[in-house]
Symmetry: C2
Subunit: 256 residues, 2 copies
């Protein structure tokens, strides 16, 4: 019955919610034809501008780019991009700072699309081309079946192995705590110092403010936040920040 | 004579300065072969991680990616990426704020690779694959021959036309003031409120601190900084910031 509701919502949004895309409108006007650009050019420019944080607050991946974004998020290139980001992070951890060893050196990770991949969910939901149905997504999260994001487990263990305390700050709600722990442990993550999820008191806040507040709490507790690894700019913005931040690619959705 | 020195430095750096790239080392170790990745995958991951601000402080484009980066920076894709960034900026300007009209609404632009393109210079200098020779670059800048960056003039005029005061904050030195003004005017830019270049007192500062200081001066003078358009993360970082920032792609060099 619940699955039927998901399918209904999927078809409803496909047939009603998706307006004719920018691409088609621009092409009809001939505006973009001065460069003779292809759909690939157009969708790649959409993707890079999402990554550059120039395109913000989108609800859905543009209809005409769903195939392109889906291909990227399941491609070798996505994995290589992730690997390179995490290599830079390892380099930073290995060479750029000396820990005090007083148990107050800290590192922050996002969960979704940083430690655990939601790509299998979005594969079933038009790769971000349909408006997010939080009930459907949370039902999927409760199954604890998300695979780990490529290479992140190695980095996680590398950081933990250096004696840095790991805090996971996620916009998942407290109701998902058990399922989240199960999922993390199932794919190999353990030994974090804090798993911070959104409580009822955080319901009205946007994710950026909520995450900044949690970092402030850590700082007030005496932690030095060396780095943050996340897939959304809202995981880094606002004060206090960290000495370095590492942005993983993700053009499936936008979290403000 | 001066031209000969440039050529000498070019060849010296080509034959002495460029170590065997990461790509070759990794390939010899077989480390990257687990994904069967191509040189294109490798160079694209370098480029995207530069744009994501994960790779910082590089002196040169990796030898093995010079061709790839050169192709991108002279491609239709680069132009489409720029156009999309500037369209998002226009959208922000058109819809997101109401000017006070007291002459204190301000907007900041970088100059190099934001208003004026240095791509023709880098085309002659291995597309960032040789270490920057500031004397050579400044000699080129003094010729005032830089073309405008695609689409930026339209945005510049759009913002100016709304009565927003435009400030150009550049890491170019004061010695280049006349040449810079000539170049800007030649390609169509005029009517800015301030052209801020690095004076002798800024010589010891990194670009990020220098630019943040200049923004602070503007704020102290009562300006509201609505936006910044630049091609380097150092144009945005540090306080005070702006309500929005727009990062243009540029993987030819890194300015800290």
């Amino acid at each position: 019955m619940k699955r039927n509701l998901c399918f209904f919502l999927l078809f409803f949004s496909l047939f009603n919610g998706l307006a004719l895309g920018d691409w088609n409108i621009l092409n009809q006007k001939g505006k973009n034809n001065k460069l003779g650009i292809s759909l690939k050019n157009y969708c790649e420019s959409w993707r890079i501008n999402v990554e550059l944080n120039n395109i913000r607050g989108f609800d859905v991946v543009p209809e005409e780019c769903v195939e392109y974004i889906g291909k990227y998020m399941t491609s070798t290139q996505y994995k290589v991009d992730l690997e390179r980001a995490l290599e830079e992070c390892t380099l930073f951890v290995s060479t750029n700072f000396v820990l005090k060893g007083d148990g107050k050196d800290a590192w922050i990770f996002d969960i979704d699309d940083t430690l655990l991949s939601t790509v299998p969910y979005y594969k079933q939901h038009s790769f971000g081309g349909e408006k997010l149905n939080m009930t459907c997504l949370e039902r999927w999260m409760k199954t604890s079946k998300a695979p780990s994001v490529a290479y992140t487990l190695d980095l996680y263990n590398e950081i933990k192995g250096r004696g840095i305390k790991i805090f996971l700050i996620s916009s998942r709600g407290e109701l998902l705590r058990d399922a989240t722990i199960d999922n993390l442990v199932n794919v190999g993550y353990h030994g974090w110092t804090g798993l911070i999820l959104r409580g009822l008191e955080d319901a009205g806040k946007n994710v950026q403010s909520y995450k900044a507040e949690q970092r402030k709490r850590l700082k007030d507790d005496g932690y030095r936040i060396w780095g943050i690894v996340g897939d959304q700019w809202s995981s880094f913005e606002g004060a206090p920040s960290a000495r370095r931040t590492f942005k993983l690619p993700n053009s499936l959705y936008y979290v403000a």
